[in-house]
């Protein structure tokens, strides 16, 4: 009955008026920004993050989670209506969803996405509530050696799911870790790589890295060849799926939910894998396999559910281990830290109201998402007509203001330029920005635990192999590395990613 008590505590927190209001505002803002073409959930959360810093921690995190689902759903809307997915997981939805829109069935596709997301969100929230506490209890026994190995494992697994070669992904991760060392050293207070500037003593702000890499770099990419976007946004009518549609989406939604809930826990992009896997599964088992790619409603229902379930369960490693499984979760780590909370197993013990409140608010957020999106679809359609010439100055300006407002530090703004240019060059050279962000957020954890473990073991590096959990994690990390570079699997990844193009 522990679970029920905890959920009661969660709902009593999440249903406080200000929390519901900000959850609603978060979902609304997240959808509004997420709908804008070419802006994925990561960019949306990075841009809206500074807004939440002035609230109470619980409220801020609830709002942030709301922004995340909103952005995810908004991204699917864009993918369906104008075939411009903001993120790789929405790219799967675009395959059949956009085809449905062209056949005049945009309403049914959007409703299917909303219903699928809701079912998946509800189930995955329960999974999260059941699975998180026992995992957190295990994690509480972790010492620095285990943590070091765990972080290393998480970083290496994230390669397996990045696009491009494993070598470049690995280099991007380590580059992120390297940038994480800028600023005062935690043990000695020595300022490192600060060029004598006091403004850099606090390190590089991760918001600058995220905004530069995901916002500025992406805008430059889009400005490479400016064409008028062929937006065939007609009127969206017939929102409700027909009886035949309803019958066809039940199976895909349930299977997608299961797949997504399981794969979302994986570090490094389980939600992308979940959407692709769900699409492949539905295509294989459907009796109408040839309809896929030509507007099969199963091809929207499955991946959308998988995507949303994975979005929820990717909170599990964050809340229990303090490990972000996804770039958005990396931003959440930053948000926790801004509010003076170290994400990890201690959250559930020290801040039960926050922990359970956040979980309960996820479900509330999903309800709000359905209530909000079905009536407001007309507004989102209109937002799609905002021309890019208005959009990108808005992103640049708001990103500059938001980043400056973090600490009234002009160097945070300069850092956007640096990471924007670096990100642009590296993305053009076939490197993905997400691993760098993960490395940047996890780097300081890696260093701290490495040094602490060595102090405890009196400088004996074998401690990482003699402690069983740590040894297992390191073996898994090596295995993941081998798998990532193995040619056979690389080819399969290429197949998956070319299907997406």
């Amino acid at each position: 009955m522990d679970l029920l008590d905890n959920l009661a505590l969660g709902f009593s927190t999440a249903l406080l008026v200000q929390n519901v209001v900000y959850c609603f505002v978060g979902v609304l803002l997240g959808t509004a920004v997420g709908v804008l073409p070419g802006i994925g959930p990561t960019a949306t959360v990075a841009m809206l993050l500074p807004i939440t810093f002035s609230f109470e921690p619980v409220t801020a995190l609830i709002m942030l989670a709301g922004i995340y689902y909103g952005a995810q759903y908004g991204g699917s809307t864009t993918a369906i209506l104008i075939n411009l997915p903001g993120e790789s997981s929405a790219a799967v939805t675009a395959l059949d969803g956009h085809e449905m829109a062209r056949q005049g069935r945009a309403g049914a596709a959007l409703a299917t996405a909303a219903v699928g997301s809701f079912v998946a969100g509800t189930v995955a929230t329960v999974v999260l509530a059941v699975a998180a506490p026992p995992l957190a209890r295990v994690a509480l026994r972790f010492g620095p050696a285990e943590y070091f190995s765990l972080v290393l494992f998480g970083l290496i697994v994230s390669i397996a799911l990045a696009r491009g070669t494993a070598l470049k992904a690995l280099a991007m991760i380590m580059l992120g870790v390297l940038f994480g060392t800028v600023g005062q050293d935690i043990y000695t207070g020595t300022p490192r790589f600060v060029f004598g500037r006091r403004e850099l003593y606090g390190g590089i702000d991760f918001v600058s890295v995220a905004v530069g890499m995901f916002g500025v770099a992406e805008i430059l990419r889009n400005l490479e060849n400016e064409r008028a976007r062929a937006a065939i946004v007609g009127r969206v009518s017939n929102l409700w799926p027909t009886r035949e549609d309803r019958r066809r989406i039940v199976g895909p939604i349930l299977r997608g939910t299961g797949l997504g809930a399981a794969l979302g826990v994986l570090p490094g992009g389980g939600h992308v894998l979940a959407s692709f896997t769900s699409y492949a599964v539905e295509k294989r088992i459907s009796k109408r396999g040839q309809e896929f790619g030509h507007g099969a409603i199963e091809g929207v229902a499955g991946p959308e559910s998988a995507n949303n379930a994975a979005a929820q369960t990717s909170f599990i490693p964050l809340l229990t281990l303090g490990l972000p499984a996804h770039p958005v979760m990396a931003l959440m780590v930053g948000a926790f830290i801004v509010h003076g909370i170290t994400p990890g197993p201690n959250v559930i013990v020290d801040e039960p109201a926050l922990f359970w409140g956040l979980i309960a608010s996820m479900w509330i957020g999903n309800v709000l998402l359905v209530l909000l999106n079905l009536p407001l679809i007309g507004i989102w359609v209109r937002m799609l007509r905002i021309p890019y010439q208005v959009l990108f100055p808005m992103i640049i300006l708001f990103a500059s203001i938001g980043t400056y407002s973090l600490g009234f530090n002009a160097y945070d703004v300069y850092a956007i330029v640096f990471f924007g240019l670096l990100g642009y060059v590296l993305i053009k050279c076939g490197c993905e920005p997400a691993p760098l962000l993960l490395g940047f957020v996890l780097g300081p954890l890696l260093e701290e635990n490495l040094r602490r473990a060595l102090i405890i073991s009196r400088g004996d590096a074998s401690v990482f192999l003699t402690r069983p959990i740590s040894a297992v994690l390191l073996v898994l990390a090596v295995a993941a590395l081998v798998v990532a570079v193995l040619p056979a699997i690389r080819r399969r990844r290429e197949v998956v990613f070319t299907e997406e193009e």
């Binding site: 380590m174 500059s400 956007i416």
Partner: protein
């Protein structure tokens, strides 16, 4: 297997080698310490060396079996203007105040697109400055003066 040389691969590798190397050089200036008590320089030295080594591997791979074929066009005008706009904001927001800094940044940024007309640019600038002021200063109570001390009033 045929040799495919890839300039973007070599460039990416070069960036990794350069940054990794710079951090290695920098960390040699800090105390390295012993394994028992690692100094501030030890971890960056290790990671910097790894980045540089991976960068070298990317370069070698780019020479033998490259991956990315074309680097593609670079929108030089957009790059220059956006960089200037953001730097301008960081440099002047304290001195000029929120409204002038935002307006100039917005105006510069709109010029990044080759398809923008002057009238549109001015309209977008005015709209965004007003929206930014409403959202951040009025709505979120951001404590930045609207007009800064450089303007003399």
């Amino acid at each position: 297997m045929e040799r495919r040389r890839s300039l973007p691969d070599i460039l990416a590798g070069g960036v990794f080698v350069l940054i990794g190397g710079a951090f290695v050089a920098g960390s040699l200036g800090y105390e390295l310490g012993t394994p028992l008590r690692m100094g501030p320089g030890a971890f960056p030295l290790l990671v910097g060396a790894i980045v540089a080594a991976l960068g070298l591997a990317v370069v070698v791979k780019g020479l033998v079996a490259g991956e990315v074929v074309a680097f593609g066009p670079v929108p030089w005008r957009a790059v220059t203007v956006i960089v200037l706009a953001i730097l301008f904001f960081g440099f002047t927001v304290r001195g000029l105040g929120f409204i002038p800094a935002s307006a100039v940044t917005a105006l510069l940024t709109t010029l990044a697109s080759r398809r923008v007309r002057p009238l549109t640019a001015v309209a977008v600038t005015a709209g965004l400055t007003a929206a930014g002021t409403l959202i951040f200063v009025v709505g979120l109570q951001l404590r930045i003066p609207l007009w800064g001390p450089w303007l003399g009033f």
